[in-house]
Symmetry: C2
Subunit: 424 residues, 2 copies
């Protein structure tokens, strides 16, 4: 399929820095507020957000048959619900309007300030109302590292790991947008050498470098989505920090999985980069051995080459990049995850979010969590300001970034960042 808006030769009449995440080939979707606006849907070009409600109100989207009110909602769910044909048509139309060869909007100086808002002057909001949130565990390097550390290096992967895209349900209510600070959680912990557990602020606070995809089409209970059709049900992707309290997790997670160690806060980036925009960066998937069950088989290049990084910024200091990873390292693809999630008839709804699980690469600097980077705290990292980190300290800000780049175009996700405040 040719996606018109992805044309690498397009240039916008809006200046876009060569390192911007938001060239004309990206056109992600979000929701913003500012002093005049409670919540409008928006897209992005260079350093601007594009107010889609104003764009529609000024008649620039009149041929698309989109009710203007969907751009005036707190969340994108109703917009996404219109279906991929419509959201794709909007992205194509945005691409036309921003194209340097198109004068419609370019020459209409009077409306520029109403439609284009410097991103530095707005608040980007949580883009979707997440109904259900599922987190997978699909990076083989991450699962191997964790298994090696907490179990047995010789049997690091659980017997089910190469048969099942292992996943579990997470808490939707505590998903927040980039920029929202969080408090260090309190909870029960039991150090391995202690007789009984203790209660207090968690000591081993960690990030998990993840991406998540947003469901773009609902299914009914009883229906399954095949790997072949899965992309029709995936609207786009965000960066995702699945904050984790390792000491709470260790004590609580047997036998039913992580709970309070995860549900105190999760942070996502505000821009949903469409699956369409990511299409040029698709790459070959992991070689899967043993062969997977037929419902998990797929054809084509279904991984995505997304360069990922994590930085820690201590209070009143500069940031240090501590991890460079890549989404292409995933063993299980999004399409396999969705096929697995629905093979039993479980229904999915527009706005549901599916996390990748921590994305680690094979090299130590590619590990996607402090647990792995500091190897359970045995190898502290040294930051640029000389301070050391085994896990995340109070008042540290953790920043995740991601982008795709080929020889023609670079598109990115913006930042997923949040500051850790002391326990309440």
């Amino acid at each position: 399929m040719i996606i018109k808006a992805n044309n690498p030769t397009l240039k916008s009449w809006i200046d876009v820095d060569v390192n911007s995440d938001f060239p004309i080939q990206n056109l992600p979707f979000g929701v913003y507020s500012d002093t005049h606006t409670k919540h409008h849907a928006c897209s992005a070009i260079g350093s601007y957000a594009i107010d889609l409600y104003e764009l529609a109100n000024h008649g620039f989207l009149s041929n698309l048959n989109i009710p203007t009110e969907v751009f005036n909602n707190a969340y994108l769910n109703d917009f996404i619900e219109l279906g991929k044909e419509t959201t794709r048509a909007l992205r194509d139309r945005l691409s036309d309007l921003l194209d340097s060869n198109n004068k419609e909007l370019q020459d209409n100086k009077a409306v520029f300030n109403k439609i284009f808002k410097p991103q530095s002057g707005i608040n980007l909001l949580l883009p979707v109302k997440v109904g259900d949130y599922t987190d997978f565990y699909s990076s083989i390097d991450h699962a191997t590292n964790i298994g090696t550390m907490i179990r047995d290096p010789k049997n690091a992967l659980m017997p089910n790991w190469k048969y099942i895209p292992v996943g579990y349900h997470g808490r939707a209510s505590s998903i927040t947008v980039s920029g929202t600070p969080l408090h260090r959680p309190k909870g029960q912990m039991k150090p391995a050498d202690a007789e009984v557990p203790t209660f207090g602020p968690c000591k081993l606070l960690d990030f998990e470098l993840e991406t998540a995809y947003i469901i773009g089409k609902s299914t009914k209970l009883g229906e399954s989505v095949s790997t072949e059709k899965a992309d029709d049900y995936i609207f786009g992707m965000v960066l995702f920090n699945d904050w984790s309290a390792r000491d709470i997790q260790t004590w609580e997670y047997v036998p039913l999985g992580p709970f309070l160690s995860k549900n105190f806060a999760s942070t996502i980036s505000p821009w949903i980069v469409t699956l369409d925009a990511l299409e040029p960066y698709r790459t070959r998937g992991y070689e899967q051995e043993p062969k997977v069950f037929p419902y998990l088989e797929y054809t084509g290049d279904k991984n995505v080459d997304i360069k990922l990084e994590v930085a820690i910024q201590p209070e009143n200091s500069t940031e240090t990049v501590i991890c460079n990873s890549n989404y292409k390292y995933m063993y299980w693809t999004m399409e396999q995850q969705l096929a697995h999630h629905t093979v039993n008839g479980c229904n999915v709804n527009v706005g549901d979010m599916m996390g990748s699980g921590t994305i680690s690469g094979p090299q130590p600097h590619e590990y996607g969590s402090m647990m792995e980077l500091s190897w359970k705290g045995t190898k502290p990292l040294t930051l640029n300001d000389g301070s050391e980190r085994k896990f995340i300290n109070d008042n540290d800000t953790v920043i995740m970034r991601g982008y795709c780049q080929n020889d023609k175009v670079r598109i990115g996700f913006g930042e997923c960042k949040a500051k850790v405040l002391p326990a309440n």
Copy 2:
């Protein structure tokens, strides 16, 4: 606190059978539809549902300051959101209107058919939109039975079990209302003696006898709810069948917990019995040893004496009651569960649902799942029609019932039932 509507001496001018779940002291809340009505909020008296939208439209609720439109929604969330003072005032008002000494409604024959609908002629709908659903694991007899069967009888309970009300997140989208059939799920299984997993319809389909409570007041991220205040945040309770595919569960659940083995369907009863109505049946909680952490301590009688039963009805046959249990057997109370859930700052929202976990009692006929009743399939149950069950067969209907009874009043939950159809 004296709750006026609980007065055991009240009698309604509507005939209520002595074994009805819905005497004037219950007055639960639900949502119904019929050929004329898309969705109206309702309460229940005897064999009737009371249409609250019609009641309001006819001026009977005019002093309560409730916007009539909250009774015309698909779900009760907006009604519950009004707060306990308001929902309690409505229950009190219903109690007045139904009291045999009150003539307002009793003598108004013209409106009777508009307001009172025989329950046999309506569809009861899912009463709330569940945002997040959490399931606990709080019955000590159940946890001990499972631990004995799958691990070690001498260390049946995990080390964390008596310190933590163990819980995990479940899938909200696949929660359905009583009467909704489900398909046997397909998935991966690996029998203990097999080298590799297989894929197909699950063979060990089970119910789990649970109750669930519905959150009635939201918190903000970062806030915690104390055991003392917890009841202010609990609107009421329903019966809950947490359908489980044991063979899928065994293969998938390590290390992150149950996933596809649970999220194919969960069934709740349609009437939310308010925590207020359950107040007279509060009873002493389990003696907890070791002593719990201060945030889990509580005072007063916080268990509830709810008699529970489960029946299996094979196709074209009569039902057999296979289990009699009681909610009073719970080790951890609802108040402790909620205090634990929020101690890390996790926020809860109106409509969230918290499952109890399987409720087993100490005696074999009190076990709340087939896994326990048939002891992993080693002791088949014989039904009234002579057929045997180790787990649930295709076309079986599983029916759960629950009621509270003291020497004066009996109130109940209605039925939580669903039929298992063959795999798709």
